[in-house]
Subunit: 310 residues, 2 copies
Amino acid sequence: MKNKLLVVGTVAFDDIETPSGESGKILGGAATYIGLAASQLSVDAALVSVVGGDFPDDYLSLLRERNLNLEGLKVEPSGKTFYWKGKYHKNLNKRDTLVTELNVLADFSPEVPSDYKDAEIVLLGNLHPAVQLSVLDQLGTSPKTVVLDTMNFWMDHTWDDLLLAVAQTDIITINDEEALQLSGENSLVAAAKKIHSMGPSYVVIKKGEHGALMFHKDTIFFAPALPIASVVDPTGAGDSFAGGLAAYLSSGVKLTPESVKTGIIYGSALASFCVTDFGTSALLNLDKSALKKRLSAFKALVHFDENIDL
Amino acid sequence: MKNKLLVVGTVAFDDIETPSGESGKILGGAATYIGLAASQLSVDAALVSVVGGDFPDDYLSLLRERNLNLEGLKVEPSGKTFYWKGKYHKNLNKRDTLVTELNVLADFSPEVPSDYKDAEIVLLGNLHPAVQLSVLDQLGTSPKTVVLDTMNFWMDHTWDDLLLAVAQTDIITINDEEALQLSGENSLVAAAKKIHSMGPSYVVIKKGEHGALMFHKDTIFFAPALPIASVVDPTGAGDSFAGGLAAYLSSGVKLTPESVKTGIIYGSALASFCVTDFGTSALLNLDKSALKKRLSAFKALVHFDENIDL
């Protein structure tokens, strides 16, 4: 039985420069990447976001064609869509933000479509935690799994709201430095323990090219990253990762350490495609057989013989 | 059938400061860590190295008690043992060398014991490549597997000798930055391909807390690292890793991608113990049952359900 997946996040214009070239103004945003990643798993997903009157109908059609419900995607005809321009350094692990124009995102008040107020899985994409909280407030008390993606910016500027959102979270996805910052600890093991006590029973640490870690009680899971010969554009990798994870959890499985592990592999596989082209191109060109092959590659990547005699 | 393992590397005094404290002057050196790691696997191993008259008999006994053959460990009564003093930064991934006194190492001319000239596995620990080459020159042409550990210092200062040693190497172990430096490439995938063409058919990339990668032809293997709650002293982790790998390959298995993968897990497990105490303490206190448990933990760390339906 499929579950409903509710996604809140940005739908945006990105303008990206990497050592491979310049993208120009293209489709971007956390909810966009999450939705496109999730749509590979035939989920029943709705996006909650906001765009301006300048947002092309073609982009809306593109999302609709992927069976993403857009009832909660508000169009503000007189406003402009959120715009981000950034430039990646040579090693691609660092980037500089050149321009951020919040535009319609500045006053974004999310509205959850009534059909999705009982969504079993809620993915709160990287956004102001007050917006994330507003979505949770609309969902009532029905049993649900909350996946929260966030970043250091919100830890620096909206600490109290962030803590409230984290308290209602089952699965948090952050990078390693952010885990140390959020917890105030010096090791990931200690950080995960502290973050467990703040709410999330699953702490998922994104390490980019170094893979991902999952902490749940005394269980640790180490997910590999597939070494990629040429990374073109890392934008959206973290969102694709979270989208793949949440989509797998929406596929009718129960929330268990095992299902979260498998979900992390789905997310890792989708992120490994995402980075091979600018913006959403690689996700848009992906088909199920390529994804299936990639999932097998992740299995092979970590397999070793059980010969552990001494 | 067990094979012979010949190890060349430093036997030294280390003096280590980490955020956890100061070690004082203690037993160290690449060959020491390699030997102690290898001795966990009941191998027939010999160390080739040099120490001064100041090297305590107790340390020699300690190595002998581990069944390490010391015929090739020269003692120069009038000389002083190689001494290294270093201080680790707070995050432990960086360290400053405070003192390096080469002492007897400056004129080290390795002599391979005659019983080990037909060793099936040769581990050339991190040392001047001219010394590594001198060992290979003494071994004749018998079929053997050469494992070479090196670092950026030798790339900066002894490039030509290093290339000659690499050309005779089957398995090279280096870190990710060093792989890029050695190959002149920008990605690990491209680097591994280039390094294959320089000699080693196996390129093993040590990434510390992020695990390790193995490249062999079109095969990639991603070995996890066990997240450690409190790393006390990273010194010797890379040597323990190489020692575990070489020791596993000396246990009578054939050299195949599968045996190298399993060897990498042995090495990773031994390195995961090494860092939990100053110097060689953790390796000295390790017993087989703890190692066996740790190997199982590595297996569990990367296991996920095969459910890859889309």
